[in-house]
């Protein structure tokens, strides 16, 4: 009896000690993560401007489905997602394989150069892009000088070109970031596999598709999920380069949330509802990506 008692006491003691170690983190996570999320969820069932909020049940959610601006924002965001994410991932993969080549000289320089865009400030680079692509900006001047176009392209004020500008901007900013993941993964692939393939007479294209891509699959999955999440939350570039325009041709969901909260009469309830729509979309897309690409590793 005495023995079981002390055993019990020892167990409670170790549990308590364990908890005391993580207590701080747990409290902080609850206060700064779960509490705001819960608050936002509650907020999403309320409507009104500023602090005059009243509970209106699922009103905001039904408004969401008939809201043209929201639907356009979702459409735009998905265009970025479908065009830019695959483009960037393929580009990052391609560059990382090139930079991993043992015969390449000045490797450090190239790696740094391609990674540098991701350490620049989002706002600063957006503003620079805005000027590069403006009506009489550097890009148009160069295209005109090289006689590639006869009139300046309206990069920012034309609905189609504005989307292209945003896609170019985010590709420039994030390709290097993904490349770093691929580079580190590539360095973990045993060289002997490639040597064996070479002996068997596999071409370098064959090696790339037969060895590199399958072995990088978990990393490709990781980067495509993080890029998807990033794109669904896209805000800075659009806000600073086109402000969502012309019309709402480049507006993203995040920018719509900003507009609802701060540009129009502050409708925080509906803005929270739109935010939750992003949560739902990210969750769904991540599940799909895991199912499609994850197989056993997922």
């Amino acid at each position: 009896m005495h023995q079981t008692n002390s055993k019990l006491r020892f167990r409670t003691k170790s549990v308590l000690t364990g908890w005391s170690f993580v207590l701080l983190a747990v409290i902080l996570i609850f206060v700064f993560y779960f509490y705001p999320m819960l608050q936002a969820l509650i907020l999403s069932f309320q409507t009104g401007t500023g602090s005059n909020l009243t509970f209106t049940g699922f009103d905001n959610y039904s408004r969401l489905l008939s809201d043209k601006t929201f639907i356009v924002s979702v459409k735009n965001t998905f265009i970025y997602l479908l065009v830019q994410v695959p483009l960037m991932i393929i580009l990052a993969l391609f560059i990382s394989v090139l930079l991993n080549d043992s015969k390449l000289r000045f490797k450090g320089f190239f790696r740094t150069a391609i990674f540098l865009p991701c350490v620049t400030s989002l706002v600063a680079y957006s503003v620079v892009f805005k000027y590069l692509f403006s009506g009489n900006g550097l890009v148009n001047t160069m295209l005109l000088k090289l006689h590639l176009v006869s009139a300046p392209i309206e990069w920012i004020t034309d609905p189609f070109w504005a989307k292209i500008t945003i896609i170019i901007a985010i590709t420039w900013r994030w390709t290097g970031y993904n490349m770093i993941f691929y580079l580190s993964a590539l360095q973990n692939i045993d060289h002997s596999i490639y040597e064996a393939a070479k002996i068997d007479g596999a071409s370098s294209t064959r090696q790339f598709f037969g060895i590199t891509v399958p072995l990088l699959k978990p990393i490709i999955l990781f980067t495509s999920i993080t890029s998807t999440i990033g794109t669904l939350q896209l805000f800075d570039e659009v806000m600073n380069i086109t402000k969502g325009g012309p019309g709402n041709a480049t507006q993203t969901i995040s920018q719509y949330i900003y507009n609802l909260s701060f540009k129009y009469a502050a409708d925080f309830g509906y803005a929270a509802t739109v935010s939750y729509s992003i949560v739902i979309m990210i969750a769904l897309l991540s599940v799909i990506q895991f199912k499609v690409a994850g197989d056993k590793n997922g």
Partner: protein
């Protein structure tokens, strides 16, 4: 066991230490202010020694505040006034988040708010703004300012800059096309485009520069006819069947299709278009004057004509674009803040002369317009008495109710404008916009 307890205790201690630390950091300022208020409360009831003001635009609003601060210091040397500059968008965010959080800590005593947005703040955060009815008289200011700055019969804002519009034109380009400034005295927008075509033909310069994301020109046009995106009540969308709005849309399309318009994407490109001489005219608020006169080499080449008018609804040659006003927050120090405003922007005719000559601010304080600074000739505009013109137009601006949804509706209209320019029928453009506005604004 003891050790475990000790650990838990340490953790808790750390937590409370952290929270109290950050708490005191945040409230440090206000706690200090409070201390001061309490101290002074004993001697001078309800007088704060320090007030904070938020505003944007160092060359205009902040400069005006500096003048007012110096003026107030003459009679109240012991009051410290902190002027903080933020971008307008930042002020809106800070106000919204601050007011919405339910704590008044970190809010200023006085804040500048654009007239188009003021009602959304006054109505969304009732009791957060201080009623100034006893400090200033709304009727002392231009009539069209009373809509944005008052609510339920109470005066909350001190009307500030006028935003009165005029048609700035390059007289040299006009002359090359065979026109004089006098030819622009009583014209409508159709005539304006006609002149623009002649200017384009003779000089190759664009008549106007437009930002597809900013329908300021549409706002100017409809207010000149006494209409707005919303009906009188400030709530019901007024888009389908709004004759001035329809004519404004048609004029806008004509401007873009008759090849007299240039496109810009932001403020710096806008100003660059004017300063480089690429554009022959700009119909806009008087606050553009400093940006135009900044290009000294163009002195004598600009003139200001009355705004062209629409053909419907008794449209006049006067309108408003983006004026703003001061608001006193309902926080500690409000009495001092109200006193500061009442003694400067609310009554000081002399100060308004100084604001005009030193900074170029055209206020909306009626009595100030009689001062001599208002009748001064401006050399840059070939000796034209531009300010007295603007002051006269200010009195004619039709009063409309901006409501709380100006920018929400404008975003809908920007999209429909693109559809219209791409060939959609005007009536369905307006009725679609009306339907969307109705579903979006509740």
């Amino acid at each position: 066991m003891k050790k475990g307890f000790a650990l838990v205790l340490i953790c808790l201690l750390l937590l409370t230490a952290c929270s109290s630390n950050s708490g005191s950091k945040n409230s440090g300022n206000t706690a200090g202010d409070k201390g001061k208020t309490e101290n002074t409360a004993a001697t001078e009831p309800a007088q704060a020694k320090e007030i904070t003001i938020w505003a944007w635009d160092p060359a205009f609003n902040i400069a005006a505040l500096e003048v007012a601060k110096a003026e107030y210091a003459k009679t109240n040397p012991d009051v410290k006034i902190n002027i903080v500059e933020y971008a307008q968008a930042d002020i809106i965010q800070k106000l919204n988040t601050g007011l919405n959080s339910g704590t008044t800590k970190g809010l200023p005593n006085i804040v500048l708010i654009e007239d188009y947005r003021s009602q959304s703040f006054l109505q969304s955060y009732k009791d957060s703004f201080y009623d100034l009815s006893s400090s200033i008289k709304g009727t002392d200011f231009a009539d069209y300012k009373s809509g944005p700055t008052s609510l339920d019969g109470k005066q909350y804002g001190i009307p500030f800059d006028s935003g009165v519009t005029g048609l700035y034109v390059r007289t040299d380009y006009l002359e090359q096309a065979g026109y004089k400034l006098a030819d622009l005295q009583d014209i409508d927008w159709k005539k304006y485009i006609e002149i623009g075509k002649a200017v384009k033909e003779k000089t190759g310069k664009a008549l106007i520069t437009l930002d597809p994301n900013d329908l300021g020109l549409i706002r100017v046009m409809i207010q000149s006819a006494g209409e707005w995106y919303l009906k009188e009540d400030g709530k019901t969308p007024n888009i389908a069947g709004n004759a001035p709005l329809k004519e404004a849309f048609e004029t806008y399309k004509e401007l873009t299709e008759s090849n007299v318009a240039k496109v810009h994407a932001d403020w710096s490109q806008f100003v660059a278009a004017l300063n480089s001489g690429d554009v022959a005219s700009v119909p806009t608020g008087n606050w553009i004057t400093p940006s135009i006169t900044a290009e000294a080499s163009q002195s004598g080449k600009w003139g200001i004509a009355p705004l062209p008018k629409l053909t419907v609804n008794k449209s006049v040659h006067a309108s408003n674009l983006g004026g703003s006003s001061w608001y006193v927050m309902n926080v500690d120090g409000k009495e001092t803040a109200a006193d500061f405003m009442a003694k400067t922007f609310g009554s000081n005719v002399e100060m308004y002369q100084k604001l005009l000559t030193d900074i170029g601010v055209i206020g909306t304080f009626k009595a100030a317009a009689g001062g001599e600074a208002y009748s001064q000739a401006n050399e840059f505009f070939s000796g034209q008495k531009v300010v007295s013109d603007f002051a006269a137009w200010t009195e004619q601006i039709p009063s409309v109710n901006y409501g709380i949804n100006t920018y929400a509706i404008e975003d809908i209209l920007i999209v429909e404008m693109q559809n219209y320019l791409n060939g959609k029928d005007i009536d369905s453009v307006l009725s679609d916009a009306q339907a969307q506005a109705e579903s979006q604004i509740k």
